[in-house]
């Protein structure tokens, strides 16, 4: 297995929005991409807490990252378009870094189903989760 296959974070590039939000990519022990977002005025909602939309944006980015890496590892070159997302907010987001990792439940020919979880100081205590459905299509020629 090449370095690129082990470390999934190199198979996905963060878009401008993610960089503007101060998101960074790392890899977990399996090489799956973890997206991290720092707390700051840019991600603050209710004073002293993470904004629900910022958490949503992070979850979605981790969903994109997980699916991109999954497709790349399987040698699939497909365009991904989000169809829908449903976010559950489980706990208040504290003024600390927040992490998110996605899991591809299924990637078929036309649709991929992804689940994502976000946590802060304790991986076992999620602050938010979501499911996302993606439409897969052949790259534009």
């Amino acid at each position: 297995m090449s370095e690129g296959q082990r470390d999934g974070s190199v198979l996905f590039t963060l878009p401008p929005f993610a960089l503007a939000m101060g998101m960074t990519l790392a890899a977990d022990e399996d090489g799956s991409p973890i997206v991290t977002m720092q707390f700051g005025a840019h991600s603050e909602g209710r004073p002293g807490f993470l904004h629900g939309g910022a958490i949503g944006g992070l979850l979605e980015m981790a969903g994109f990252a997980a699916l991109s890496v999954h497709l790349a590892r399987n040698g699939v070159n497909q365009r991904m378009k989000p169809i829908n997302i449903s976010i559950e907010y489980l706990r208040a987001g504290l003024p600390q870094p927040v992490y998110a990792i996605g899991q591809v439940v299924r990637a078929g020919r036309r649709v991929a189903n992804v689940r994502v979880e976000a946590w802060q100081s304790d991986r076992a205590v999620p602050i938010a989760s979501c499911w996302m459905n993606f439409h897969l299509a052949a790259p534009k020629g």
Binding site: S43, R46, P47, G56, G57, E60, N84, I87
Partner: protein
């Protein structure tokens, strides 16, 4: 947190959506994204997210990321609740679902309009749509549920 004193609309008195909307465009995440107050009615609130190059998403080609649209929905749905209540009651987002009907057109502002259609106990139910100029041709629909903040939070 002293730097958040501009949240004067948290204090007593009726909720003024236009004033709150102005604060939305200055503070925190909404300020960072450059959201702007649009309009409101008895139970609805509208705001705009101007297109910006640094808010472009994955697959990019100038298309706004869906992340800022989630934030726009989160803010507008929240504001619609206070607009309908007529007063500010702190709450948290319990659940937010978004259906992306089509991609946003590069360079165009995204406008979201949210309507609070039900208040029941400590729950508030909201629906919303986002468009980029023509409300009859939306780019996303959303449904959200908020819960009044409990003592433990």
């Amino acid at each position: 947190m002293a730097e958040h004193e501009p949240f004067t609309w948290r204090k007593q008195g009726p909720f003024d959506p236009a004033v709150a909307g102005e604060l939305l465009s200055k503070l925190g995440h909404g300020g960072f994204l450059g959201m702007r107050y649009g309009d409101h009615g008895p139970d609805w609130f509208e705001a705009e997210l101007p297109w910006r190059e640094d808010l472009v998403g994955a697959g990019n080609k100038g298309v706004l990321a869906s992340g800022p649209i989630i934030s726009l929905f989160d803010n507008c749905t929240s504001m619609a609740i206070w607009t309908r209540r007529g007063c500010f009651v702190p709450h948290v987002t319990l659940d937010l679902r978004i259906d992306y009907v089509r991609a946003a057109v590069p360079g165009r502002s995204v406008i979201a309009r949210a309507e609070c259609y039900q208040l029941r106990g400590d729950l508030a139910f909201v629906r919303a749509l986002a468009h980029d100029g023509d409300m009859a041709d939306p780019l996303a629909h959303a449904a959200a549920i908020f819960m009044v903040l409990g003592d433990s939070e």
